[in-house]
Symmetry: C2
Subunit: 208 residues, 2 copies
Amino acid sequence: MLDLAILGLLGEKDRHGYEIRRLLRDELGLATNVSFGSLYPALARLERQGALEAVADPAPAVPTGPSTGSLSGERATSRVRRGRTRGLRSRKVYRLTETGAALFSRLLAEPPSQDDPRSFSLRVALARHLPPSARVELLERRRALLEGRLDELEATAAGTTLDGYARSVVEHAAHGVRSDIDWLDGLLAAERGTPPSRGASVTTQVAP
Amino acid sequence: MLDLAILGLLGEKDRHGYEIRRLLRDELGLATNVSFGSLYPALARLERQGALEAVADPAPAVPTGPSTGSLSGERATSRVRRGRTRGLRSRKVYRLTETGAALFSRLLAEPPSQDDPRSFSLRVALARHLPPSARVELLERRRALLEGRLDELEATAAGTTLDGYARSVVEHAAHGVRSDIDWLDGLLAAERGTPPSRGASVTTQVAP
DNA sequence: GTCATCATGTAAGCCGTTACATGATTGC
DNA sequence: GCAATCATGTAACGGCTTACATGATGAC
């Protein structure tokens, strides 16, 4: 999970750990901040595995390239390089290697863990890196799973053993699942180029 | 989390582990089955702590008594005792002790972990055991938390850096949070004896 | 007599957390 | 010069999962 998210973020551009943490929170859906105690070890591990490599700092100045985003990088570099001799406890910027890119594809393609909805959401958030057929399969698998869960929830709600509070919880859960299914249907419709219906458009237009 | 759920279930009546697992799934909202590897150790631990005690077995057959409680225990014992000499690997039925009941109240009252929505849902499902003021506080705290989360999500969605898929994920998440808030508002209204509005009633009437 | 289901448990390990420790940069 | 914030890391631990091992019961 974390690995996949990190790799995905690093696919866009080189970044350092602290920045990744912020992006994890508000670029991808991961509501809560990942803790450092899990982020840094993950980065270290990925580096050991050869999926990432530390690039002393991004953009060794010298604007020889047409680089995008290098400007800020350059400034950062010069700042660090110029820095106090004590240096080295500054940002550590990582770059995705080819091995890492391959790992990313592999992780992204593998089925999300049944539980932990974040595993699924993350894959959708990164869906642009997936071939269209894989996208549809991802969405449809999830849809089937939710359909099953909805049945269970409705069966439970039909039972008579529940008191008001417990029943309300179950009914609200069922409502949430229905809403998820509707969302997936919207995404699937967009995926197939079939606008769901004129007038009532899906909340988001997904196509590039 | 698990402890609280177990204690809650055992508060109603004596049960054995396997049964608890089933109830965890479809009586309380806990969608997915708890694994044995986590359930049985939890039961053992609670027993060691004196929160539970094993009562050889409750009542198989022999409808001699109107018994609630101890009588059935005796009968159960007899079945197990009578059993194949190899016995003893049969069901192990637990009863909630007073210590356990106290522990239950304590756990139920303490604030749910911010993450893991199940922690909150579980408390709502068991809300009948909570004094009304605690119920309202539980719901309002959650409401405030969700309100904050919604702001964050909307801010993220407003950002321009997201591609279609990521944006859709964030927007759907925001929708879910709004739906949760509406649900809480319904529960709070019911809690205060103020029916939300005529015509559009809440999905569930919570009052006894 | 054998298969499915009910029932209890142990062992290893994953994935994350909190708490702690440290250093660098910026603004006042 | 000091505080806030940015930044990286380690240590200990927690809760849950999977996989494994075992036994009892009932149906056919």
